[in-house]
């Protein structure tokens, strides 16, 4: 599903790590961990084709448009933007071929799934960080893409929200979707995600999460 060949990436022309070779099969669930500024988010964008690699190639088995769905970090959104939660979520139905009735039904289902019932008409500026994050996740659920790239999906979520998130990630995984998740919550990664890529300036390491993350990660590890 994802093939990275001699991939180098970075924001400003300086590669952040040595060349990366990575193969992930269809239906796999992969976490990306690493220190702040190590290039996790950029790697996710490069995989999704949203940013050009400095060298090397990424090939996906799905079309770039419609095949990939990307969850951005919410601080990139303008919270003052004058639309309602529902208008944000409904963008996930872009380009699908469902009938209007079917679309409404699907919209209602994902809003329920992400515990957003009753907030449909709330303007973005009146949402809490957790509500906005769940709205972005609901939009992602509507897209039906086989490859999901999640950039810090757990950000701003409370304990309940995080439980909901991991429940959905496992459900997507069970449906056969391919997932890549950038995550700082090492305990959750160890518990829910089988394989992990550690991004590090001296070189990336890929392996089983149990081997790469210590039993009780202390704060210093992250």
């Amino acid at each position: 599903m994802i093939h990275c060949q001699a991939l180098r990436w970075g924001p400003s022309g300086q590669p952040l790590t040595p060349s990366l070779y990575l193969e992930r099969p269809r239906g796999s669930l992969t976490a990306i961990i690493g220190a702040n500024g190590s290039g996790k988010s950029s790697l996710l964008k490069v995989i999704g084709g949203l940013q050009k690699p400095l060298s090397g190639t990424v090939t996906l088995d799905v079309p770039r448009r419609g095949g990939v769905s990307f969850l951005p970090q919410q601080q990139h959104l303008d919270r003052q933007f004058p639309i309602s939660l529902q208008e944000l979520v409904v963008a996930g139905a872009w380009g699908d071929r469902h009938s209007p009735a079917m679309r409404n039904e699907r919209l209602r289902t994902v809003l329920e799934d992400w515990a957003l019932g009753g907030l449909e008409q709330r303007p973005l500026m009146a949402l809490s960080g957790g509500e906005l994050q769940r709205a972005l996740l609901a939009r992602l659920s509507l897209t039906d893409a086989p490859l999901l790239l999640l950039d810090e999906p757990h950000a701003a979520l409370d304990e309940q929200g995080q439980a909901l998130l991991w429940k959905h990630i496992q459900a997507w995984h069970a449906e056969g979707k391919t997932l890549v998740v950038v995550c700082h919550d090492l305990a959750a990664v160890r518990r829910y995600v089988s394989h992990t890529l550690v991004v590090n300036p001296s070189g990336c390491t890929f392996g089983r999460s149990h081997d790469l993350i210590a039993q009780q990660p202390c704060a210093g590890v992250a």
Partner: protein
């Protein structure tokens, strides 16, 4: 006078959504840069072809788009912030325009070019305004959804559609087109006011985008109507009259608007 009113009203309707989106995209200054940029282009058009609508329009279009493009290019290539490169480009274009007019001989009144004279809108200009306004309203309706998503969350739009850059390009072209057609009626510098002031004012009245656009259009129309009335009865220059009315409406909105207006601030915010 009737022609000026009709032209002004349709112009107010078509610039309203453009202004609202310029503010949302944090590109409010682009309007100013383009309006200044139009000046040397229109002056060149005048120099070569005299006072003809097509010449002024083509010159203005080319120069306006050129200025917007130049600013974007300098920003991308050098990492200078866009507002700084825009601020550097206004005085260049303004000075170039004034200089060209000077060289061309003083047959075209500089004040007319800068501040317009709505009372001199002739039939071809009015037809041009109607066409441009109609076309830009239709085009805006067509690119509304991609433009909205491209403004809010360009990365997401990129994953579902390739329309983002196209919507952006069409949008910028519409901005330039409206400014060019508007500068002949109310002046290169004043038409930016008609585009931005109602849009800025509308943010104090609603939290919903379609409502914002409608309110901006209504405020724009009100400014044109009141401004032209004032300029007619008190023989004031029409461009400044229209923009000052729009400015007055903006100040009223800042004070009395229900959304974050000074008098209606929700208690949570005042306690800080």
């Amino acid at each position: 006078m009737r022609r000026a009113l009709l032209g002004g009203l349709v112009l107010a309707c078509s610039t309203a959504p453009l202004g609202v989106f310029l503010i949302l995209r944090r590109m409010s200054l682009i309007g100013d840069a383009v309006a200044h940029g139009i000046l040397p282009g229109a002056a060149l058009g005048f120099w070569f072809a005299g006072l003809s609508l097509p010449a002024l329009t083509v010159g203005g279009l080319g120069a306006g788009l050129g200025m917007a493009g130049l600013a974007a290019w300098v920003t991308r290539r050098t990492g200078l912030r866009e507002d700084a490169s825009l601020a550097a480009i206004y005085p260049i274009s303004l000075a170039a325009g004034v200089l060209i007019l000077g060289v061309a001989g003083k047959r075209l009144d500089l004040l007319h070019l800068l501040f317009g004279s709505a009372l001199a809108v002739d039939a071809p200009t009015l037809t041009g305004m109607l066409w441009v306004s109609g076309a830009s309203l239709i085009a805006m309706a067509m690119i509304y959804r991609p433009l909205l998503l491209d403004t809010l969350d360009p990365l997401f739009l990129q994953t579902v559609s390739r329309l983002g850059p196209l919507a952006h390009g069409v949008f910028l072209t519409l901005v330039v087109l409206n400014l060019v057609i508007g500068f002949q009626a109310i002046g290169a510098l004043m038409v930016v006011g008609l585009m931005m002031l109602p849009a800025a004012a509308s943010r104090f009245w609603s939290r919903r985008l379609p409502t914002l656009i409608i309110i901006a259009a209504l405020l724009g129309c009100l400014s044109v109507w009141l401004g032209l009335l004032l300029s007619f009865y008190f023989s004031l220059p029409s461009g400044p009259a229209i923009v000052l009315v729009a400015g007055g409406l903006y100040l009223l909105s800042v004070i009395f608007g229900p959304v974050h207006g000074l008098l209606r601030r929700p208690p949570l915010l005042t306690s800080s």
